[in-house]
C-alpha cells in the first residue's frame, strides 16, 4: 500500500507542472510558431499516485505539412501577382497610356496636313512623335527596371534562403544533441526549428521528412537535399547562360555544386524567376514589337514623301540594333550576331526571341521561340549566306555574324525586340524634314482642251532608278504621257525625260484602259516606284506630265497616308500565321494591355485562392496547436483545484499520522 504522503506529493508535483505548462501556454499566446503543450500524466503502476509526467507539443503532422505546402503555393502566387500588378498598373496608367499617345500623334498629323507649309503645325507633329517615343521609352524603362529589380531580389532571396537553411541545419544539430540528454529536446527548440522550416517554405517549396534521433531532412520538391542531419546545402547566384545579366541558381552541398532551375524551386523564388523569364520578357518583347511596327511605318511613309526642303524624305526614327547572347559552351564566346530590322518590313516583325544554332562552319538554323514553342524558320525564308550577313524578310530581320570561324553546335540567343522600346529614338531634328508632300506631281497640260484627268495612284518606292537626290527625277524615268489617236484607238504613249524623249511603252485602249499605265505598258516599263492612271477621254496630241514635285510644298498627299497609318494593319499577331495575322497598332496596344490585364487578373484570382487554401490549412493547424485562452482558464481552475486537492491529501496524511501519534501517546 502506497504512502498517502507520497501519493499526495506526486499529485502536487504533477499539478505544479501542469499549472506551469498552462502558464507557459498563456504566456506564449502571442509567440509566432508556438505550439501549445500538454502534460501527459501516467499513474504509477507499482505505487499509487502519478508516476511520471511528460511534456508534449500538441501537433498534427499532416496539418503542419499541408500548411507548409500551402505556404509555398501562397508565397508563389502572392509574389507573382504582386509583380504583375505593378506591371499592370504601369500599363494601365493614364499618363503613360500608349493609346492616348497614338491618338494625339495622329491628330497632330491631321493638323499638319491641314496646313502642310506651316512650320508650327509641323513642329507640333514632330513634338507629338517625340512624345510618343518618350512614352515608349519611359514605359519600357519602367519594365526593364522592374526586371532588374526582380533580378536583384533573387539575390536577396537567395541569401535569406541560405540563412534559413543554415538555421534549420544548426537547430537540427541542437535537437539531436538534446535528444541524447534526459528530457529530450524542449518544445521551444522544436518550435524554433518548425518556424525556421515554415519561413523556408515561403521561399521555396520543400518536403520535410523526420529522420533519426529527432533530426529532420529538408529537400526541394524535386528531391535536391537542403538539410540532411547536420549537413546543409547553400545556394549561389551565378551569371546566366546565355544572358549574363540574368542571375541563375546553383547549389552546393558537401563540396558538390550543381545548377538548379529557379522556376522549379517553388515558393517566392520561383515566382521571381517565372516573372522575370516569362511575364516581363513577354511584355517587353510586345512593347518592342509595337514600337518597331509604328516607327518603321512612319519611317517608310516618310521616305516615300518629299519634305519642306524639296528633298526625298528620310527616317524619322532610329531603329535599334541588338547583339546576341552567346552560350557559354560556344567555341568562341566573343563571337556573336548583331541583329537589326529591315526597313519597310516592320509589319513582319514578331515578338519572338530567336535561337541561331550552327550546324557547320557556314551553315546554321534559326528557330523562333514564342509562347514556349520553338519553330524552325524554313531555309527558303533566309536570304544570303555566311560568312557575312543574312536577311529574314519574313520576320523583318537582318543578322550580321561576326567574322568566322564558327563550329557546329555554337548557339546564340537573339532578342531583337527585347530592348527595342527602351532604345528606340527619334533622329529627326527639323520639322521641315517631315515629308508630307508627294515627291511626284502629275498634271494635265494647260493647253489640253479635254477634261481628261491624270491621277497619281501612289508612290511605292523612292530608291529606284527614277529618283535622284539632286535632280529629283532622272532622265530615264517615265515623265510624260502623250495621247495618240491617229490609228483610231486611243494610245497612251509614255515617254522618258530625255531630250528628245524616248518612247518607253504604250497602252492601247481598247483593250487597255487608262488605269495603271506604267504597269500595263507594252513593252514593259521597269517599275519606277510610282503609278499613274488617266481618266476621261483625252484628245489626240494632249500631254500629261509626271514630274518631281518641285516646290509642291502645300501638297499633303503623303501626309494623308501617314494619318491613315492609324487604320492600317501594320502589326503581326503571331509567329505562326493563321489567316488574318495582322492588326492595327491600336489593336496591338489594346491586345498587349488586355493580355497583361488578363494574366494579372488570373494571378490575383490564384493568389486569392491560395490565401483561402492557406487559411484553411492554417486553421486546421491552429485548431490543433493553437492556444485557446478559455481552455487554459478552465485548465488553470482545474489544475488549481487538483493542486488544492492533492495538498489536502498531504494534509490528510499528516492528520492521519498525527492521529496515529496521538493514539500512541
Amino acid at each position: 500500500m502506497a504512502d498517502l504522503l507520497q501519493i499526495g506529493t506526486s499529485g502536487i508535483n504533477a499539478f505544479q507542472r501542469m499549472l506551469a505548462t498552462t502558464g507557459n501556454n498563456i504566456s506564449n499566446i502571442n509567440t509566432e510558431g508556438y505550439t501549445r503543450q500538454r502534460n501527459i500524466a501516467v499513474s504509477d503502476q507499482f505505487n499509487a499516485g502519478v508516476s511520471g509526467i511528460v511534456d508534449r507539443r500538441v501537433l498534427d503532422q499532416f496539418a503542419q505539412s499541408e500548411m507548409r505546402r500551402d505556404t509555398s503555393i501562397n508565397a508563389y502566387a502572392q509574389a507573382l501577382s504582386f509583380e504583375l500588378q505593378r506591371t499592370d498598373a504601369m500599363m494601365s496608367d493614364k499618363a503613360n497610356n500608349l493609346g492616348t499617345a497614338f491618338d494625339s500623334t495622329y491628330q497632330s498629323v491631321h493638323t499638319a496636313n491641314d496646313d502642310p507649309t506651316s512650320l508650327d503645325t509641323r513642329q507640333l507633329m514632330l513634338g507629338e512623335l517625340k512624345s510618343l517615343i518618350s512614352t515608349y521609352n519611359m514605359l519600357a524603362k519602367n519594365y526593364s527596371e522592374q526586371e532588374k529589380t526582380v533580378n536583384k531580389e533573387i539575390g536577396t532571396e537567395v541569401s535569406e534562403i541560405n540563412a534559413l537553411i543554415k538555421n534549420v541545419g544548426e537547430l537540427n544539430k541542437e535537437v539531436m544533441q538534446a535528444n541524447n540528454l534526459p528530457g529530450g529536446a524542449s518544445g521551444a527548440l522544436l518550435d524554433h526549428r518548425d518556424e525556421a522550416i515554415r519561413l523556408l517554405a515561403e521561399k521555396v517549396d520543400i518536403n520535410v521528412i523526420d529522420g533519426k534521433s529527432g533530426a529532420v531532412q529538408v529537400m526541394l520538391r524535386n528531391g535536391d537535399p537542403l538539410v540532411t542531419g547536420i549537413e546543409y546545402s547553400q545556394f549561389q547566384v551565378v551569371n546566366g547562360n546565355p544572358d549574363g545579366r540574368k542571375s541563375d541558381l546553383e547549389y552546393s552541398i558537401a563540396g558538390v555544386s550543381a545548377g538548379i532551375n529557379g522556376t522549379k524551386a517553388g515558393g517566392k523564388l520561383a515566382a521571381l524567376f517565372d516573372f522575370r523569364d516569362q511575364e516581363i520578357g513577354k511584355v517587353r518583347n510586345s512593347m518592342g514589337q509595337l514600337a518597331i511596327a509604328i516607327t518603321d511605318a512612319f519611317n517608310t511613309q516618310n521616305r516615300l514623301g518629299m519634305d519642306l526642303d524639296g528633298n526625298i524624305g528620310g527616317d524619322i526614327f532610329q531603329l535599334p540594333t541588338t547583339t546576341s547572347h552567346n552560350y557559354a559552351s560556344n567555341s568562341d564566346t566573343s563571337k556573336g550576331i548583331t541583329s537589326s530590322f529591315l526597313p519597310g518590313l516592320g509589319s513582319a516583325v514578331t515578338a519572338a526571341d530567336y535561337e541561331v544554332r550552327m550546324t557547320g562552319a557556314n551553315s546554321f538554323e534559326v528557330y523562333a521561340l514564342e509562347n514556349g514553342q520553338r519553330s524552325l524558320i524554313p531555309a527558303g525564308d533566309i536570304v544570303g549566306a555566311l560568312p557575312g550577313s543574312i536577311e529574314i524578310p519574313s520576320h523583318g530581320l537582318k543578322f550580321d555574324f561576326d567574322p568566322p570561324p564558327y563550329v557546329a553546335g555554337d548557339k546564340f540567343l537573339v532578342q531583337p525586340t527585347r530592348d527595342a522600346a527602351d532604345l528606340i529614338d527619334i533622329s529627326m531634328v527639323r520639322p521641315e524634314e517631315l515629308a508630307l508632300a508627294s515627291p511626284i506631281r502629275v498634271d494635265a497640260s494647260a493647253s489640253n482642251t479635254s477634261k481628261a484627268h491624270i491621277e497619281l495612284e501612289g508612290v511605292t518606292a523612292t530608291d529606284t532608278y527614277a529618283f535622284n537626290a539632286t535632280t529629283g527625277l532622272t532622265a530615264a524615268a517615265p515623265q510624260q504621257v502623250l495621247i495618240n489617236t491617229s490609228g483610231g484607238n486611243i494610245v497612251y504613249e509614255i515617254y522618258d525625260g530625255n531630250s528628245p524623249a524616248n518612247l518607253l511603252g504604250s497602252v492601247t485602249s481598247p483593250p487597255g484602259t487608262g488605269e495603271n499605265l506604267l504597269a500595263n505598258a507594252v513593252p514593259a516599263i521597269t517599275d519606277p516606284g510610282y503609278e499613274i492612271s488617266l481618266t476621261g477621254n483625252p484628245l489626240h496630241g494632249e500631254t500629261f506630265s509626271i514630274g518631281f514635285n518641285d516646290n509642291g510644298f502645300a501638297d499633303n498627299s503623303n501626309g494623308l497616308k501617314m494619318a491613315d497609318l492609324q487604320n492600317q494593319s501594320l502589326m503581326r499577331k503571331n509567329v505562326v500565321a493563321s489567316g488574318d495575322n495582322l492588326m492595327t497598332l491600336h489593336e496591338g496596344f489594346s491586345r498587349m494591355q488586355s493580355s497583361i490585364g488578363e494574366r494579372t487578373g488570373n494571378a490575383i484570382v490564384a493568389a486569392q485562392a491560395s490565401v483561402a487554401k492557406l487559411d484553411q490549412s492554417t486553421n486546421w493547424h491552429e485548431s490543433v496547436s493553437g492556444v485557446n485562452l478559455d481552455e487554459e482558464a478552465s485548465n488553470l481552475l482545474k489544475f488549481q483545484q487538483s493542486y488544492s486537492a492533492a495538498a489536502q491529501i498531504v494534509s490528510a496524511a499528516r492528520a492521519t499520522f498525527d492521529t496515529l501519534l496521538n493514539a500512541a501517546r
Binding site: G99, A446, A554, E622, V624, G626
Partner: protein, 407 residues
C-alpha cells in the same frame, strides 16, 4: 471544432481588412468616376474602352478638319463670287462696245474700267489664305498663281493642278481647294476657222457661234487636222455656182451648193464665208485647233484693242467675240466650281452630322464600360459600410468574451 484564441482575432481582422479594401475601392470609383483603374480588373472592357477612345479622338479630329475645310472653302467661294461679279461687268462692257459707235473718249474710259477690272481679278486670282499661301496655286502655295510674262505680255499660270484632300470621316475625303489650272487656265477659247483663198481675199466670220461650235466639235480631227478642212469651189457659169467639198474633195452629205456672187457671204455651219474673187477661185477653210485662254488675257486683248486708235469698230468685232465667249466660258467654269464647293460643303454637313451622332453613341458606350454607375456604387458603398459596422460590433462582442473575466 476547436478554435484557438488567435484564430478568433485573425478571422475578425482579416474580415475587417477585406471590408476596408472593398470600401476604399468603391469610394475610389465614386470619387474618380472611373469604374476600373487597372486592366486586370476588366481586361476586355479595358481593350474596348481603348478602342472607343481611339474612335472618339479620331472623330474629334475629323470634326476639327471639317471646320477648317469649311472655312477654307468659304474663303474660296467668296473670292470666286467677287471674280464672277467682275467678269459680269466686263461682259456688260463688251456688249456696250459691241452695240454702238463710241467716241475715242468713251473707248478710253471703257479701257480704263477694263484695266481696273483686270487688276481686280488678277488680285483675286492671286488671293492668299490666313497662312499667306496662294489659294489657287495648287501645291505650289508659295508661288503666285498668275503672273504676267514680261517677254510675251501674256498672263501665265505658275502653279500646278494638285489639290489637297482632307479627311473628314474614316472613309470620306473632301477636296480642300481648287487649282487655278482647272478654274481659270483650262477655259476653252472661242472656236474659230481660217480661210485661205486661191485668189482674192476671204473673210470667215462666225455668225452663229453655237452652231459653229457644234460643227467644230463634231468635225475636228485632232489626230489629222487636215482631215477636217473644207474646200469651197466656185464655178463660173450662168449663174456662178459654188459647192463646199470635204478635205478629200467629195461633196458633203447633204451636199451644200448654191449660186455664187462675189462679195456675198456663203452661210454654212454658223460661218459666213465671203470670197471676193471671181467665180473659179477656190478657198480652203481650216478649223482652228481648240485652245485654252484665261480671263486675264482676254481682258488684256480687250483693253489693248480699245486703247489702240488704229483698231476700228470692224476690226474690233472678232476681238469682241473672242472676249465675250472667253468671258462667258470663264464665268461658266467659275460657276461650276462654286456649285461644286456648295456640294462639298453639303457633304461635310452630312458627314459632320453623322460624325456627331456616332460620337454620342461612342461616348455613351464608353461611359457604360468605363464610368462609375453612381447609383450602383452608392448602394454598394452603403452595404459595405453596414458590413463594416457589423464586423466592428461583432468583433467587440466576440473578443470581449473571456472565461478569465469570470474566474
Amino acid at each position: 471544432m476547436r478554435i484557438s484564441t488567435n484564430q478568433i482575432f485573425h478571422a475578425s481582422t482579416a474580415n475587417m481588412a477585406s471590408s476596408t479594401s472593398n470600401i476604399v475601392k468603391t469610394q475610389h470609383q465614386l470619387t474618380s468616376g472611373e469604374r476600373y483603374q487597372l486592366a486586370s480588373e476588366d481586361p476586355t472592357g479595358f481593350a474596348k474602352t481603348n478602342r472607343l477612345s481611339e474612335v472618339i479622338e479620331a472623330n474629334k479630329q475629323y470634326i476639327k478638319n471639317s471646320t477648317l475645310v469649311t472655312g477654307g472653302l468659304s474663303v474660296e467661294e467668296s473670292t470666286l463670287d467677287k471674280i464672277q461679279i467682275a467678269i459680269d461687268r466686263a461682259r456688260t462692257l463688251a456688249i456696250t462696245v459691241n452695240n454702238g459707235t463710241l467716241s475715242s473718249k468713251e473707248r478710253a474710259s471703257i479701257a480704263t474700267e477694263v484695266e481696273g477690272l483686270q487688276s481686280e481679278i488678277y488680285d483675286l486670282m492671286n488671293a492668299r489664305n490666313a497662312s499667306g499661301d496662294f489659294i489657287f496655286s495648287g501645291s505650289q502655295s508659295n508661288m503666285q498663281a498668275f503672273a504676267k510674262n514680261p517677254a510675251t505680255g501674256r498672263y501665265v499660270f505658275q502653279g500646278d493642278g494638285v489639290t489637297n484632300q482632307i479627311q473628314i470621316s474614316p472613309s470620306v475625303f473632301v477636296q480642300q481647294g481648287d487649282s487655278g489650272l482647272d478654274i481659270f487656265e483650262k477655259v476653252p477659247a472661242r472656236y474659230t476657222a481660217t480661210g485661205v483663198p486661191s485668189a482674192g481675199t476671204i473673210k470667215v466670220e462666225i455668225t452663229a457661234q453655237e452652231q459653229f461650235d457644234n460643227y467644230h466639235k463634231a468635225s475636228y480631227d485632232f489626230a489629222n487636222p487636215a482631215n477636217s478642212q473644207l474646200n469651197v469651189v466656185t464655178t463660173p457659169g450662168a449663174p456662178d455656182t459654188f459647192v463646199i467639198l470635204d478635205a478629200s474633195n467629195n461633196p458633203l452629205t447633204p451636199p451644200i451648193s448654191g449660186n455664187f456672187v462675189p462679195g456675198q457671204a456663203i452661210e454654212f455651219a454658223g460661218m459666213a464665208i465671203t470670197l471676193d474673187g471671181v467665180a473659179g477661185t477656190t478657198a480652203q477653210i481650216d478649223l482652228d485647233p481648240p485652245s485654252n485662254e484665261n480671263v486675264l488675257n482676254h481682258l488684256e486683248d480687250f483693253k489693248n484693242a480699245l486703247k489702240d486708235p488704229t483698231v476700228d469698230q470692224a476690226d474690233l468685232q472678232p476681238i469682241l467675240k473672242d472676249v465675250t465667249v472667253g468671258l462667258k466660258n470663264s464665268a461658266d467654269s467659275i460657276l461650276g466650281v462654286i456649285g461644286e464647293i456648295g456640294s462639298r460643303i453639303n457633304t461635310m454637313k452630312r458627314v459632320e452630322a453623322s460624325n456627331s451622332s456616332f460620337d454620342i453613341l461612342n461616348q455613351e458606350a464608353r461611359a457604360r464600360l468605363s464610368e462609375t454607375d453612381y447609383a450602383e456604387a452608392s448602394a454598394k458603398l452603403a452595404q459595405q459600410e453596414m458590413a463594416m459596422q457589423v464586423a466592428y460590433s461583432t468583433f467587440n462582442k466576440v473578443t470581449s468574451l473571456s472565461l478569465f473575466d469570470y474566474v
